[in-house]
Amino acid sequence: MIGLMLLGGLFSGAVKAQETASLVADQNPRYMESQAKYIRIADTLNSLHGVTIQNTYKAYDWYEAKLERRRQNRAWRHEERMNGYYDYSPSWGLYGGYSYSPFLNYGWGNRWGGYYGGRWGGRTSIGIGFGW
């Protein structure tokens, strides 16, 4: 047992001496710790050589924002049309804003159906409208 401990001590001492001996002038004696750390991640970091890392931000541009809003509105209207809604006239309009049919706006309280060719669709209203 004592022999084994002596052998271990001798081995670690030899390794230590070897490390110290391989140091160049003024080199940090703990350089191996850093080396071991970076050898593990070297492949990942070195794969970025010559690469442009895109870490961009979105700058506010009044004009671009306006165009973007327009694009979004257009896309939204398109979606609405695809869903079958056509009644995007203003509420203060000539025909009460939603439907120009007093017949359909009255009584039943709904405005869907293909009776008048799909100007309205899928939306339920409550109460009596002022169509005309």
Binding site: N46, S47, L48, H49, G50, V51, T52, I53, Q54, N55, T56, Y57, K58, A59, Y60, D61, W62, Y63
Partner: protein, 197 residues
């Protein structure tokens, strides 16, 4: 009858003009010519950055310092990464390649391959170990180690109001001694643009 003929000719002419006006036109232009279309970063900006940074890096005294300290041995440089922190997608390779090319042409600086290309070279070397003749097989462990690494960043500032916009770009490149972490050269290129929509 005559009126009909005139009408037909006129219709053909008008339709010809209409078709010609709708078709796409492509014209080859000189790569040195500055054509600003959207106001975004374009080839002229990349060229201006390359020209200025190439002139600065080759004219700076870090090369002479290195030659003096290393008995006339030319410095070996590797290109690291460039971080684009601007508001636009910009690939630094468009101007870095010009700088690398100037290193080789001027014969003042030696360049070593990095990144994916270096991986490919090592993979090819590995393949040669089992497939090439012994006399032509390239050995591992004989690569040139770089003395310096070239790194950089791209930044921008945007100031816009209504239809007016001022965009400022700053391209920074830094050359660092790999052994000592000492920055031996910094170069920058600033570009400002006024855009009116």
């Amino acid at each position: 009858m005559k009126f009909n003929r005139i009408l037909t000719v006129a219709a053909i002419a008008v339709s010809g003009i209409f078709i010609a006006s709708c078709s796409r036109q492509v014209t080859r232009v000189s790569t040195d010519q500055t054509i600003d279309v959207s106001g975004n970063w374009n080839n002229s900006d990349a060229r201006m950055a390359a020209d200025e940074l190439t002139g600065k890096i080759l004219g700076a005294n870090w090369i002479d310092t290195h030659l003096n300290e290393h008995q006339g041995k030319r410095p070996v440089v590797i290109v690291g990464f460039v971080q684009n922190k601007s508001h636009e997608h910009i690939d630094a390779e468009t101007f870095l390649t010009d700088i690398e090319s100037s290193f080789i042409q001027s014969q003042k600086v030696r360049l070593v391959q990095g990144g994916k290309k270096r991986d490919e070279l090592r993979a090819e070397k590995a393949d040669q170990q089992t497939n090439a003749t012994v006399s032509s097989m390239k050995k591992f462990g004989l690569e040139n180690g770089a003395d310096y690494i070239l790194q950089g960043s791209i930044n921008s500032i945007v100031d816009s109001h209504k239809r007016q916009k001022v965009v400022y770009y700053q391209v920074n490149l830094e050359l660092t001694n790999i052994q000592t972490n000492e920055v031996v050269w910094i170069g920058e290129k600033k570009i400002a643009k006024y855009v009116k929509n």
